[in-house]
C-alpha cells in the first residue's frame, strides 16, 4: 500500500529464548523525521536491521515504500541508505576513497549526487586525503552519513548515529538531519539520548523490546498527567532518600541540579512537602513546578509498566 514510507504491523523477533522485539506496530509517513528513543538493549538495533532487510522478522508485516522486507529485499536495498550503529567505514581508506567506493557500490559517482551531500561533505572535504580511522568522532559521523546518502536513498536508516559523540557534535548532527529533511527524504533515527526526542517530528519510546508510546514529542509531554516539581534544599544528598519516604511521592529522581518529584496527587502538595522536609532538617527549600521533558515521560512510562 502506498501512503506510508514505513509500515510495521505486529512485528515479533526473538533470539533463542530472548525476546528482542514484540508486538511492534508503527507507521511512518513519507518525509517524516522519526525517532526510536530507548536505552541499549531495548531492541533498536534489531529493529533497524529488520528494516534494512538484514535479518528476518519472526512474525508480523514490515514494509518500506510498499516493499516487503522478506520478499522484496532487493528493491528495498536499492532505495535505502543505512548507517549501522558501529563505525562502518574502512578505517584504512581515506575520506574520499570511502565515499567513492560506496558511490561505486551503488552504481553512481560522487559528482552525480554531490548536491545532496554538499552541506555535510564540504565540512570534511578539507580532510579528504586523511584515512577515515584518523578522523575525530564528529567527522567520522559526517563521513558515514555522506556515504549513506551518496546514492540518493528515499529512506535513511540511522542506527544510533550519536552514541558516544559529544554534545556539540550531536547538536551539529541533528542540524544536518533537519536540513536533509527539507529534501523530502524520510529519516528514521534511533538514540538512547532522551533529549534528542524533541528534535524529531514523531518518536516511539521503546523499552525491553516494546513500544511504550508513539506520538509527537509535544503530545507525549502534554500527556504527562502528573504534577512535576523541581526541588532543591541545602542538603541534596539525603534529600532523595527523604523524598522517597514522603507519603505523597509517586517517584523522585535526580534531574540536573534538582530533584524531580512526581506527586501522586493532582492537587498541589507543596505545603505538606515543605513541612515534611523541614521535619527532616532541610533548609533553604525551593519547590518549583517544572515542565516535564521526554526523559520525565520515559521514566514515568517505565514506572507504570513495572
Amino acid at each position: 500500500m502506498k501512503g506510508f514510507a514505513v509500515q510495521i504491523e505486529g512485528l515479533h523477533k526473538s533470539y533463542k529464548n530472548v525476546v528482542a522485539l514484540q508486538n511492534i506496530t508503527v507507521d511512518i509517513k513519507p518525509g517524516e523525521l522519526f525517532g526510536f528513543i530507548g536505552p541499549d538493549g531495548a531492541g533498536k538495533t534489531t529493529l533497524f536491521r529488520i528494516l534494512a532487510s538484514l535479518i528476518l522478522p519472526d512474525k508480523g508485516k514490515v514494509e518500506l515504500m510498499g516493499y516487503n522486507v522478506v520478499q522484496h529485499y532487493k528493491e528495498i536495498r536499492q532505495r535505502i541508505g543505512y548507517m549501522p550503529g558501529r563505525f562502518s567505514l574502512y578505517q584504512d581508506l581515506t575520506v574520499e576513497e570511502n565515499l567513492r567506493f560506496f558511490a561505486g557500490v551503488h552504481g553512481t559517482t560522487i559528482e552525480q549526487n554531490y548536491a545532496l551531500i554538499k552541506d555535510i561533505y564540504s565540512q570534511i572535504e578539507p580532510f579528504k586525503n586523511r584515512p577515515a580511522g584518523k578522523l575525530s568522532g564528529g567527522m567520522k559521523q559526517k563521513l558515514a552519513l555522506s556515504c549513506a546518502l551518496i546514492h540518493k536513498p528515499e529512506i535513511l536508516l540511522l542506527d544510533e548515529p550519536t552514541t558516544g559523540v559529544d554534545a556539540v557534535s550531536r547538536q551539529e548532527f541533528w542540524h544536518m538531519l533537519q536540513n536533509l529533511k527539507k529534501s523530502g527524504i524520510t529519516i528514521l533515527v534511533s538514540t538512547p539520548y532522551m533529549d534528542e526526542a524533541s528534535l524529531c517530528d514523531r518518536v516511539a519510546l521503546i523499552q525491553k523490546g516494546e513500544i511504550m508510546k508513539v506520538a509527537e514529542p509535544e503530545v507525549i509531554i502534554n500527556d504527562f498527567d502528573h504534577s512535576l516539581f523541581g526541588i532543591r534544599t541545602n542538603k541534596m544528598f539525603p534529600l532523595l532518600h527523604d523524598l522517597n519516604e514522603f507519603k505523597l511521592t509517586t517517584t523522585a529522581y535526580r534531574f540536573g541540579d534538582t530533584i524531580h518529584f512526581v506527586s501522586s496527587k493532582d492537587a498541589n502538595p507543596k505545603k505538606e512537602l515543605i513541612s515534611w522536609l523541614e521535619l527532616k532538617g532541610h533548609q533553604n527549600i525551593v519547590i518549583q513546578p517544572v515542565a516535564p521533558t521526554i526523559e520525565d515521560c520515559f521514566i514515568l512510562q517505565m514506572n507504570q509498566q513495572n
Partner: protein
C-alpha cells in the same frame, strides 16, 4: 555541598603536558581533586580526556609536569597508583563469559585480596545491589544497566581511594542511570574520590566540580552552579556547547 578541604588533595596535577610528536594532547593542565569529591571531567571527542585519564591511572608517562595520584608520583610509582585506584569504562568492564561471582573473584585476585576477603566483599556488594540471586549467572545474560552497576562494584572491590569512571552510563536507561549515580554518591560519601566522564550533560550537574577540556586545555573548572552563572546559561549543556564551540580547531 561545600566541602572544607584541609587535607592534601588526592589528585594533584601541575602543568601536565603530553605531546605525541608535534601534537599537543594535553596542554599545561593544572587541577586538584579532593578526597570524597565527585569530579566531572568533560570535553568534546578528541579534546584530550582519554590521554589525561591514562596518565592519571599510571598507564602512560606524561611529557612533563608534576602529577601525584593518591599521594604517589606518576613517573616513579605507577604500580602503587594502580593498587590504589579503581577503573571502569563503558567498553571494558567485565568478562562476558564468566559468572558474576567469578568476575569478582578474578578482579579481587588481581588486587591481591585473599579468598575469604573476596568472598566477604562479594557477598556484601551483591547484597547492596540486591543482586545476590544472580551471582551465578553468566554476565552475558544480564541486562546492560545491571552490568554497569556490577562493573562499578567490581572496580570498588579492593577499596580504592580513587575510582575512574569513563562514560559509565552510556546507553543505560534513565532509571538505571540514576541508580548508578546513587552508587556514586554513596561511594563519595564514604570518602572515595570519583573521577567521571560523561556525554550526558545532566549528569554533569551531579558532580561537585566539573572541568571542561577544549583542544587539550582546561577551559573551565568550577562547580556546576558557578559555571552556569559565569557563562550565563541555564543548563550545563549550554555551558558545554558555548565552550566547545569556541574551539578554534574543529578537528
Amino acid at each position: 555541598m561545600m566541602k572544607q578541604s584541609v587535607s592534601e588533595p588526592v589528585i594533584k596535577v601541575r602543568n601536565l603536558v603530553k605531546k605525541f610528536g608535534d601534537f599537543v594532547a594535553n596542554d599545561h593542565l593544572s587541577f586538584d581533586v579532593q578526597k570524597g569529591e565527585i569530579f566531572g571531567f568533560l570535553g568534546a571527542n578528541g579534546a584530550g580526556k582519554t590521554t589525561a585519564i591514562k596518565i592519571l591511572c599510571g598507564l602512560q608517562k606524561p611529557t612533563s609536569g608534576e602529577i601525584q595520584v593518591a599521594g604517589y608520583d606518576v613517573y616513579t610509582q605507577a604500580e602503587l597508583i594502580k593498587k590504589n585506584i579503581g577503573y571502569m569504562s563503558q567498553r571494558f568492564s567485565m568478562y562476558e563469559d564468566l559468572s558474576v561471582r567469578e568476575n569478582f573473584q578474578f578482579y579481587g585476585g588481581i588486587y591481591g585480596l585473599s579468598g575469604s576477603e573476596i568472598k566477604e566483599r562479594t557477598k556484601e556488594m551483591l547484597e547492596d545491589l540486591q543482586m545476590t540471586h544472580i551471582s551465578n549467572k553468566i554476565l552475558r545474560e544480564i541486562p546492560l544497566g545491571w552490568k554497569q552497576k556490577l562493573a562499578f562494584s567490581v572496580a570498588m572491590v579492593h577499596h580504592p581511594k580513587i575510582v575512574f569512571l569513563d562514560e559509565p552510563t552510556g546507553g543505560v536507561d534513565p532509571i538505571t542511570r540514576r541508580q548508578f549515580w546513587e552508587m556514586i554518591y554513596t561511594a563519595a560519601d564514604k570518602g572515595v574520590t570519583v573521577f567521571v566522564t560523561t556525554h550526558y550533560m545532566d549528569e554533569a550537574e551531579y558532580c561537585g566540580r566539573v572541568s571542561i577540556m577544549v583542544d587539550g586545555r582546561i577551559e573551565a573548572l568550577d562547580s556546576p552552579e558557578a559555571l552556569k552563572k559565569n557563562y550565563n546559561s541555564t543548563t550545563m549543556n549550554d555551558v558545554f556547547i558555548k565552550l566547545a564551540r569556541s574551539s578554534g580547531n574543529t578537528n
